[in-house]
């Protein structure tokens, strides 16, 4: 993460030079203010030479105007560094999140957490810009003031700089304490937020258990812990403010106390006023800016980067992929459990699905049907035994060899054609692919007007092929409803059934010979579901359907019944007679004879 920071700072040396040059201009009033005020009074107004006084003031005014222009240029130059920094962070966060999600597809995806990290990126960008701006401003101002004081009256510099340096040292010394307190507060605040989220999520259960009082007491301790961290932070901030006071206010008193000495050294009253102007107009605000920049933005930046780093871990290595020889599926003594301490969901399962078979998987929820689908499609690896697709371990089979359509259909914002061609275009293998793909290589390229985006052009399905698939699955109405193949889809505006239909047409168009539908038709009505299943059965290849409705089982050549590690396979008619659970599921209930 430190590397990201350095990279951001060093990537644009031109902008750094621009910042330094404009900073010189911006710091001009800091150099001029005391000098101009002192000279305007001493040589001008007090000496009854109004024109000289006005000339000095005009110079000061001009310096302010130039400084304002310079400040604007500096903001733009800092932005030119901060914006690519934000892009880097976002690329990092998004890439990490998508890769991690794809690596652990079984785990629940906490998209809210990812959104929170997105917020951290914005905070980090602002904090980064603020730190660069204030630290730079402080350095240039201090140098200007020192030069100005030395020019005006070296004696005044002796009165101003030691207490200022003392204040700065005190502030820097208080910084570790402040950082620690800030961090502790953020942690306590986060823990409280987590507790409140847990309480809101478990409210129904807490009330049903009558545990409101105890939960209230528990919340009280967390609320108190957060408040006490906030009070500790307030105390540390008070210490920091005192340090700031030493650096900003003590020089005022010392300059006033040293006035007789300055006057005896030949300086006029104007010089004293000028020295005061340096302290109150330049030095104190610059110190305040530094306190804000390091004490607030710097800590924010560190905290945000911490969280972004924690959220984005390096992607897992992918094994080389193998091409299966056929679309037959073979499971040998497969056992799988979700945790080292959990009971196995699939326990010693052996199963052979020859190429071309249509298998339906049924069973109560939690029986392991989706787990089986994940094992066959290679998303999960068995703890024991092996899952082979065409003789190749399922988790190493080429993605193009099989298609898994889960219950939650993935439809992305893009054209309908892009969405339908998703599985017909070769996945990640473009030669110039770079995981840290840096979009600013080509800043003028606006992908919003380029639906192809370089990824999905090439060998997409032809129009005739598209039409045939859409007709076969009964999706013609959907195509018409969204406005044709080149209409942009808003996934949120589609119904769950429409999204499933898009995913199903996509699977139908793919070259894969093994299709796994994991409750992929649950949002379609029964007639549409039947049409889809018939179409896939007629498409050829192997078809595994995790059934949502029991009617799916009647259409399959063979049925696999799963129930807590017990598995039975057979045709529909066989199972009705041999399994009471299956009979139960299909609604066959015979009153047992009273003995």
């Amino acid at each position: 993460m430190r590397a990201l920071l350095w990279r951001a700072l060093r990537r644009e040396p031109g902008q750094l030079v621009r910042i330094c040059l404009w900073s010189l201009v911006e710091a001009a009033p800091a150099f001029l203010i005391g000098l101009a005020v002192a000279r305007a009074i001493e040589d001008g107004f007090a000496a009854a030479r109004v024109d000289v006084g006005l000339a000095w003031l005009a110079a000061l005014g001009l310096a302010w105007v130039l400084a304002a222009v310079a400040a604007r240029q500096i903001v733009l130059a800092v932005a030119a560094i901060a914006e690519p920094f934000r892009d880097d962070l976002l690329t990092h966060v998004v890439g990490g999140a998508v890769r991690r999600a794809a690596a652990t597809p079984g785990a629940a995806q906490d998209s809210a957490a990812v959104t929170r990290v997105g917020l951290q990126v914005e905070l980090a960008r602002d904090a980064f810009a603020a730190v660069v701006t204030t630290v730079r401003g402080f350095a240039f101002t201090v140098v200007s003031v020192v030069l100005g004081l030395l020019t005006l009256a070296p004696g005044a510099a002796l009165l101003v700089l030691p207490p200022f340096a003392a204040g700065l040292v005190l502030f820097l010394a208080s910084l570790p304490l402040l950082t620690r307190r800030q961090r502790e507060f953020l942690l306590a605040d986060e823990r409280l937020a987590e507790e409140m989220t847990a309480m809101a999520g478990g409210l129904r259960d807490i009330v049903a258990c009558g545990a409101e009082e105890r939960q209230g007491a528990r919340m009280a301790t967390h609320v108190e812990a957060q408040a006490s961290a906030a009070r500790a932070l307030a105390r540390a901030t008070a210490v920091r403010t005192a340090a700031l006071g030493v650096g900003g206010w003590l020089p005022v008193v010392l300059v006033l106390a040293g006035t007789p000495w300055l006057l005896s050294g030949g300086a006029g009253a104007g010089v004293v006023v000028g020295a005061l102007a340096y302290v109150t107009q330049s030095l104190a605000p610059a110190l305040g800016g530094l306190v804000q920049g390091l004490g607030v933005s710097g800590i924010q930046l560190a905290a945000s980067l911490d969280r972004i780093t924690a959220a984005a871990q390096p992607p897992p290595l992918r094994p080389t992929r193998l091409r299966p020889a056929s679309a037959e599926v073979r499971l040998r003594e497969v056992t799988f459990a979700y945790g080292p301490h959990s009971a196995p969901v699939v326990d010693g399962l052996s199963l052979h699905v020859p190429e071309g078979e249509h298998l339906a998987v049924v069973g109560p929820s939690g029986a392991g049907k989706s787990t089986l689908a994940s094992l066959i499609s290679g998303l999960l690896r068995p703890d024991a035994g092996e899952v082979l697709v065409g003789g190749v371990p399922a988790d190493r089979a080429e993605p193009a060899a099989r298609v898994l359509i889960p219950q939650e259909a993935y439809v992305f914002r893009g054209t309908l054609r892009e969405n339908l061609a998703y599985l017909s275009t070769p996945p990640d293998h473009d030669p110039d692919h770079d995981p840290d793909h840096d979009p600013d290589h080509d800043p003028d390229h606006d992908p919003d007007h380029d639906p192809g985006d370089g990824d999905s052009d090439g060998a997409g399905p032809g129009a005739a092929e598209l039409d045939a698939a859409v007709r076969a699955l009964g999706a013609a109405d959907l195509v018409a409803a969204v406005g044709g193949y080149d209409a942009r889809l808003d996934p949120g505006a589609l119904s769950a059934g429409q999204r499933q239909l898009v995913a199903l047409v996509r699977a139908y168009l793919s070259p894969a010979r093994l299709i796994i539908l994991d409750e992929a038709t649950c949002h379609l009505d029964p007639a549409a579901e039947a049409l889809v299943e018939h179409a896939f059965a007629a498409r050829g290849g192997t078809l595994v359907v995790v059934a949502h409705r029991i009617t799916s089982a009647r259409r399959a050549g063979r049925v696999l019944l799963m129930d807590g590690g017990r598995v039975q396979a057979g045709t529909h008619d066989e199972l009705v007679h041999t399994s009471s659970l299956y009979a139960d599921l299909v609604g066959h209930w015979q009153p047992e004879p009273v003995s």
Partner: protein, 557 residues
């Protein structure tokens, strides 16, 4: 007065010593800062005139500076501490209210919204005392500076105002007012976030298709647009910065120039000119002081949102306890939402199944029976006592509730199971865990009952069994099982049922179920359709009705 404003007033008033300290430091600091330029100017003048009073003036300066520093530090401390205390007090009140009102709050506000209102918004209300005194601390010196400037020379005040007007006029001519383009930025940001959420929801598809890199790039597509809008925003900010950064220094230069003329004419001393320049700077900050009022406005609107949560009614509990009984549940003329149950008796000790298609009102019936929700009218009685007349503890001791998707509240597995009981002993814990058939996997966990909940990945079926154990430990007379065994395999489900019957056989069970076998095994079946009881009786009798059979056929496997 609005409920929100009442909260703000309370936050200010109940903060006791903190508010007083805030006011004292704000006013004291402002007064000191106001006095300093005048006293400093007199010090310089006195030294120049070799007036022996100079030392007195200097001592005054030192005292004033000490006062400013003290007030600043104390003020920062008081602001932080006062905000923390006020927010904590309000927050705890909100959380206790939410706990008291229960699921009624969740029905009204999404969970994230509750957290925002109890968290961020109470924090904002807590800052109300600081906002009030902060505005004071800014207004006092600005107004005071204008008065002081006028006392030194009214011409300088006129210069100040004329200067501000003139400078703004000139700046407005040269700087086009930039319409902010925040909208475009937020849009690109939103699109990126939405794309990411879509991709995460589609994780299984992406994993199976091996397209993670492609999807990451697709999600990042709005990035160039984001940067373009981002730079436009920076540009607008930079331009606004020019405007803000120029007014004060230029006004100061103007005041110095006019003052310089007066100095040359002998109408001002050098010290007075210094003081005038400082007062001009302080006075020109008036526009900034007005911005502080915004803090109070934020506190008020935040208080309005907090007050909405506090406005959700809390159910009242009576003081009665239960007479001896077996757990008979009666519904009398109950209506609520889309459910109407004129009369229904669940006999004590029986197993009653509630069946019906989804949306027929099964869960609401169960919630009424356990008083997780109150009907709009009518009464639900347990052993002859209307539920609202029972004391809170008596009600919860008598009724246990198991959910289809229980939320496991508690740090350890033992805490989770004991949520409904203050402190069950180990034997009790073992008994309920065994009855829920959760003993097997709890034993396999690394630290058994002491395993932290956060570190134990549990399947849906395991969570359900912990939820069942939790309910068993609690409901002494009535157990409501709302689809609470749906993720158990059939054998385990049957075992749990048998264990319940064998253990303390007396408990009444109200079981919402989808499975045929559950209905067939129940003493009585309540068949709901569209919010009314369509049939009541034994499964074998109801089975003759094709419409009843249809409830179980063609549904889910």
């Amino acid at each position: 007065m609005l409920a929100g404003d009442r909260l703000v007033t309370q936050a200010v008033r109940r903060n006791g010593p903190w508010t007083a300290l805030l006011v004292a430091t704000a006013v004291g600091g402002a007064a000191a800062e106001l006095a300093l330029p005048y006293v400093a100017g007199r010090t310089v003048d006195a030294f120049v005139a070799a007036d022996p009073a100079a030392v007195r003036w200097l001592t005054g300066c030192a005292a004033i500076v000490a006062c400013v520093m003290l007030c600043e530090s104390l003020g920062v401390w008081a602001a932080g501490a006062s905000g923390a205390c006020a927010a904590a007090r309000l927050r705890l009140g909100v959380l206790r209210h939410v706990l008291g009102a229960g699921p009624a709050v969740t029905r009204r506000f999404p969970e994230g919204e509750i957290v925002t209102r109890a968290g961020l918004n109470t924090e904002e209300v807590g800052r109300a005392p600081e906002s009030v005194t902060g505005a004071l601390a800014l207004l006092v010196p600005t107004v005071g500076a204008l008065v002081a400037l006028t006392l030194i020379a009214p011409v300088l005040t006129l210069t100040l105002f004329a200067g501000i007007v003139l400078i703004l006029l000139v700046l407005n001519t040269f700087l086009r007012s930039t319409t902010t383009i925040a909208g475009g930025y937020q849009e690109a940001q939103g699109e990126l976030a939405a794309g990411l959420v879509e991709a995460l929801d589609g994780a299984r598809t992406i994993a199976a298709a091996g397209t993670a890199e492609r999807e990451a790039r697709r999600v990042l597509r709005p990035l160039p647009r984001l940067r373009r809008h981002g730079l436009l925003l920076w540009r607008a900010n930079a331009t606004a910065g020019v405007r803000a950064g120029l007014v004060v220094p230029l006004v100061e230069v103007a005041v110095l120039a006019v003052g310089g003329f007066m100095l040359a004419a002998g109408d001002l001393t050098v010290g007075e000119l210094y003081a005038a320049a400082r007062y001009a700077v302080l006075g020109a900050a008036l526009s900034g002081a007005l911005g502080f009022v915004g803090g109070l406005a934020r506190a008020r609107s935040a208080a309005g949102r907090v007050a909405e949560v506090l406005a959700v009614a809390r159910p009242r509990h009576g003081t009665r306890s239960l007479p001896p009984g077996t757990g008979t549940v009666e519904f009398r003329d109950v209506t609520g939402a889309d459910l109407r149950v004129p009369e229904l008796v669940v006999p004590g000790g029986s197993v009653t199944a509630v069946v019906g298609r989804s949306g027929s009102g099964k869960s609401l019936l169960a919630a009424f029976a356990a008083r997780l929700a109150d009907p709009d009218s009518g009464t639900v009685l347990l052993d002859g006592v209307p539920l609202p007349e029972l004391s809170h503890d008596e009600l919860r001791r008598a009724v246990g509730y198991a959910f289809e998707r229980p939320v496991l509240v508690g740090d350890t597995i033992a805490d989770v199971i004991a949520l409904g009981r203050a402190a069950p002993d180990d034997a009790e814990l073992d008994a309920v865990t065994r009855a829920a058939r959760a003993d097997g996997f709890v034993e396999r966990l690394p630290r058994g009952y002491a395993t932290p909940t956060a570190g134990a990945p549990l399947s849906g079926g395991e969570r359900q069994r912990l939820g069942l154990a939790r309910a068993f430990a609690q409901g002494e007379r009535l157990l409501v099982l709302d689809d609470a065994t749906s993720s158990l395999d059939t054998v385990t489900e049957r075992e749990v049922g048998r264990a319940l019957t064998a253990a303390n056989g007396g408990r009444t069970r109200l079981v919402v179920a989808h499975r045929l076998a559950t209905a067939a095994g129940a003493d009585q079946v309540v068949w709901l359709e569209d919010g009314v009881v369509r049939g009541l009786g034994q499964h074998r009798e109801l089975w003759r009705d094709p419409a009843y059979r249809a409830v179980f056929q063609g549904e889910r496997p």
